[in-house]
Structures are given as C-alpha cells and as structure tokens.
C-alpha cells in the first residue's frame, strides 16, 4: 500500500523553479531518502507534501488524502522535523512539547503520557523542565524530533535530522528512525549524508530539482558505473598480461585491465559470469587466491549524477 504518492510535482518561486517533474512513491513502513545538494528542492518538497505550500503543478496523495483540498487532514496525520528545530526558547522542553501536543489535539492524560514518553525516548527526561534556550544544538534537535512524533503520525518528514549533531547524538537519532520504520511508520528523509541514507533508507531518490535517479541503495550503487570483478593471483606459470589477453576474448567479458598480480574484469552479468571466468583462468594455469566484486559506492554514484547535472547546468549557462 502506498502512503505517499507523488506525480509530476512542481514548485516555482517567481522566476526560480525549485522542483519540477517530481514523481515517486513511498509504501507503508518504508523509509524513502531524498538525497541532494543544498538548493536541490528537498525542503520545498517536504513543505509541499506537508500541506504547507502549494505545488504550482502536479498532484500528490498522502495516505489517500489529496494534497490541496485535504491539507488540514494531512497536517494532522503527519509529523515534520523542520530543517531548523524552531523551538520556543523561553519555554521548557516539556512546555514546548505540551504546546505542540495540544495543537495536534492531545489533552490531559494522553498528552502528559505522550510528552513523558517522548522525553524519555529522546533522553531528555532529566532536562525536561529546563528552558530550551539553554540547550545544546543536539538537545534542541532531540526536542524537535520528539515534537514531530508526539501525536504518533503515520507519515513522518525528517529534514536533515542529524545535521550538525555530534556522532553520538546522530547515532541515537538514526536508531530512533530505524525503530520508527520497524513500527510501520512511513518516513521521508531528506539528507545529504550519504552514509545515513544508505543505512536507513529502503529507497533513495537523488534530487536536484527533479529526480536524477531512484532505487534501493544497492540498485543505485550499480547505476552508471559498471560493476567490476577483481581476481587476485598468486604467481603461477602464466603472466597476468597474457591471462588478460585470453580473458578479453571471452564473449561475456567487456573490458580487462591487468596489474602486477591481479586482473580487473568488467562482465556483462557479473553474478552469472564470474564462475565461468574463474574456471577459464584456472584452465589457463592461473592460481586464483581471491575474487571480489567492486561495486561503486553510493557517494561515487551521487557525485557522478549531481556533478553531471552541474556540468550540464554550467554548459547551459555558458550557452546562454
């Protein structure tokens, strides 16, 4: 079942088009990561999907509610962690959370229970009655995360949840996101932390105005750059360069490079062709000591995609 369904979304701000032709789907209980550089349109996308700003074109449905006519219902059933914590400094952490809990319709006992529960989850029970104006950045972020979850939303938008946090605080936030996924919540996670996206997301969309690529982390790693197979050799009667010449003639091999004691081979279908390749090498007298698959990192794919886009934009500017 799809919880977030986006079709051709676009948002223009006077002369600037922040997002265009954006389409993606998020199933129930999945974490969808929007990866992109600053200014890629991640925050604009979240604001549109949270019913805060209207798209200039396109449609979207959040848990069956169409964006626009059902914005109030969408705001009631979604939780949002904004780019900046946006807390009320003169209020305590507890008062901040209670205020938002009331705005989301919680009252009395359930409100107190929710506030206490989430203060505990984000590790701020001890500091609950201190004004947030004196909190560290990490503590403020944790209050903001608790605020986004207080009313138990089905859909959660997280805009840079670990930005600027120390490693320990970032780890605890990531653990919380993972536990939310296990609870079956649908999460749209905007980040430019590639490691975080890879660890947490079921699907990733690389955004720079529109989606440049989309898929699971494993699918994206295979995007663009070919996967290579590295064969480590340990001496033997045959020189690697000679082996390379033999291997190059095989029908399923697309490219080969040889090192002092290894070969790097590009295969048409790595999973299917690697056993045949190794068999052939052994028949040729090679002593194979290790075989490994070199998959491009998400970072390489991301930089390739975003870099290509930047290059095209630059060419466009020059051409203009």
């Amino acid at each position: 079942m799809l919880v977030i369904s986006v079709h051709g979304l676009e948002r223009r701000f006077r002369t600037v088009t922040a997002v265009y032709d954006l389409s993606f789907n998020v199933p129930a209980g999945a974490v969808y990561g929007l990866l992109g550089p600053n200014g890629a349109g991640k925050t604009t996308t979240i604001r549109m999907l949270a019913g805060l700003i209207a798209p200039t074109a396109g449609t979207a449905e959040i848990a069956g509610h169409p964006l626009g006519p059902d914005n109030a219902a969408i705001r009631a059933m979604t939780g949002i962690l904004t780019e900046s914590p946006g807390l009320h400094d003169r209020l305590t952490a507890r008062q901040n959370l209670a205020y938002y809990g009331r705005l989301y319709g919680l009252t009395d006992g359930p409100l107190r229970e929710a506030v206490d529960r989430y203060l505990d989850i984000v590790g701020l029970t001890e500091a609950a009655d201190r004004r947030v104006g004196g909190f560290s950045k990490g503590m403020r972020q944790r209050v903001a995360v608790a605020r986004a979850l207080l009313h138990e939303p089905r859909v959660i938008y997280l805009d840079e949840p670990t930005s600027g946090l120390d490693p320990e605080a970032a780890k605890s936030i990531r653990a919380l996101i993972a536990s939310l996924r296990e609870e079956g919540r649908s999460i749209l996670l905007c980040t430019h932390n590639l490691d975080e996206a890879e660890r947490l997301c079921d699907q990733i969309g690389i955004l720079n105005g529109h989606l440049l690529a989309e898929g699971s982390p494993a699918e994206l790693r295979r995007h663009g750059r070919p996967t290579t197979t590295r064969i480590e050799l340990d001496g033997g009667p045959v020189d690697p360069a000679a082996l390379a010449a033999t291997v190059r003639a095989l029908p399923f091999v697309t490219a080969v490079t040889s090192g002092a004691a290894d070969l790097t081979v590009e295969l048409a279908e790595p999973r299917q062709d690697t056993p045949d390749l190794v068999r052939e090498l052994i028949q040729q007298g090679a002593r194979v000591v290790a075989v490994s698959e070199n998959v491009a990192s998400l970072e390489q794919v991301y930089l390739d995609l975003v870099g290509e886009r930047a290059d095209r934009d630059a060419e466009g500017v020059h051409a203009a």
């Binding site: 805060l52 109030a72 705001r75 009631a76 914590p85 009320h88 008062q95 205020y99 938002y100 989301y104």
Partner: protein
C-alpha cells in the same frame, strides 16, 4: 475559527510574555508614568493654595466645572484632561509585544513547525493578538481604576464621577481594546517586513502620534475631557482602520508568505 486552538496559542504566548521581565516592565512603566504625573499635580494643588493670577489659560477651562470650587475644578480639569494619555498605553504596548513575538518567532524559525500543525493562520494570529493586547488592556483598566480612587482620596470623592464618567466607561470598554487590536495588527504587518523589533516599534508612531495630537488639541481647545460623541466617533474610525489593516494583514500573513518570506 476554533476557540480551543486560539486559547492554546494564547496560553503559550502568555507564558512567554510572563517570563520576559523586560517586556513586563515595558508594559507597566508607561501606565504608571501616565497616571503618576497628573496625580502628582493634583497632590501639589491639594497642599498648596491656588494663586488665581498664575492660572492663566487654565482659568478659562475651569468653566467646564461651574459647580465646583476653583481648587477642585483645577484638579478636576487636570485629572480628566490627562486621561487622554491613557489611550497611549493600548497604542504603545501591544505593538511592542506583537513585534517582539513575530520577529522573535522569525528569528527562532518557530513559525514553520506551528504552521505544520492543524492550526489555521487566522487562529495563530488571533491567539497572538489576544496575548499582545490583553496586558495593555489590563494595565490600562487597572491604572484607570487606581487613578480614580487615588485622586479621589487625595482631593475629593467628587473626582470619582469625572474619572468614571459614562464616556470614559465606554472608552475603556470599547476604544481601548480597539486601539490594542489596531496596534497589534500594525505590529504584525510591520514585523513581517522588517527584521528588528525596534524598527517595528517605530511604526507605533502611526497610532501614538494621532492620540498625542488629540490630547494636545483637547488641552489647547480648553476641553476637559472627551464627549460621548467623540468617543463613539473614535470607535468608528478605529474600526475602519482595523478593517483596512486586516485586508493588508491577510495578504501579508498567509501560510505561504510566512514560510517563503518569513519562515
């Protein structure tokens, strides 16, 4: 408009205002000063003999109180004439609170998470408006009552009738809240365009200066206090101005504008 949500915003704003001693001082100080000056004059007249030769122009104004002895008439004139300055409290205080609130929220970027809840912008603004207006209304009313009682105690109980006259009861019940709303709206609109609360407060002059001009004209014209007709006319003019500012405010303070310009 859902009153419960307005009440929630009001409660939060009130908490923040109550925790800001500087702001509370800014509310109390003008109210006390505007009451203290005429009270000091009344006390001075009470303990000193009036020299008719020194009354000058005021002598003419005492005609407003033909039934009273000269000394009490002079005190009555001072007491009622200075009351026009009480209208400065609802003009000055709410704009200070409203601009502090809106610009403070802009700087803290706390408008976006609030707008992401089911609340409507009008409910958020209504809560803020009531929270900004209420301290000024309460301060004006408290000072007005205290002013009447203290001056009556210092001079003569007959001053009570002048301070709590029907036109001032109507002015306190209608004009003071209306001026507060006008001041808050001006504060909100200006705060949506400038980044510094002090700059926003400068725009309070648009409300403050006409009131000062009316008070001075009243004194120079020899009129001791407002007539009922003047109070009701002022009510209507203020309602008209509020209507105009609401139109501007609804354009300047919609959800998109707040997020894309102010957020």
């Amino acid at each position: 408009m859902r009153p419960d949500l307005v009440w929630i915003v009001f409660g939060k704003e009130w908490r923040e205002i109550a925790s800001n001693r500087l702001l509370l001082g800014a509310v109390a100080a003008p109210a006390i000063i505007f009451a203290a000056i005429p009270t000091a004059i009344v006390a001075f007249i009470q303990v000193n003999d009036i020299d008719m030769a020194q009354l000058g122009q005021i002598e003419l104004m005492l005609a407003a109180f033909p039934d009273l002895p000269v000394k009490l008439a002079a005190q009555g004139f001072i007491v009622t004439n200075f009351m026009a300055y009480f209208l400065l409290i609802p003009a000055m205080v709410p704009i200070a609170i409203a601009s502090q609130s809106v610009i403070g929220e802009r700087q803290a970027r706390s408008l976006e998470p609030q707008l992401a809840t089911p609340i409507e912008v009008s409910e958020l603004l209504a809560g803020k408006t009531i929270a900004a207006a209420l301290p000024a209304i309460l301060a004006t009313w408290v000072v007005w009552v205290g002013y009447g009682l203290i001056n009556a105690a210092i001079a003569d109980p007959r001053l009570l009738r002048m301070v709590f006259s029907p036109q001032w009861i109507v002015a306190m019940a209608s004009l003071v809240p209306l001026i507060c709303v006008l001041s808050v709206l001006l504060g909100v609109i200006v705060s949506s365009r400038v980044g510094d609360p002090r700059t926003a407060q400068q725009f309070g002059a648009f409300v403050v200066l006409p009131i000062i001009a009316i008070a001075v004209a009243q004194f120079l014209g020899g009129q001791a206090t407002f007539t009922m007709q003047q109070v009701l006319t002022a009510d209507l003019i203020t309602i008209g101005l509020i209507g105009g500012l609401l139109v501007i405010g609804s354009w300047a303070f919609n959800r998109e504008e707040i997020l894309t310009r102010l957020g």
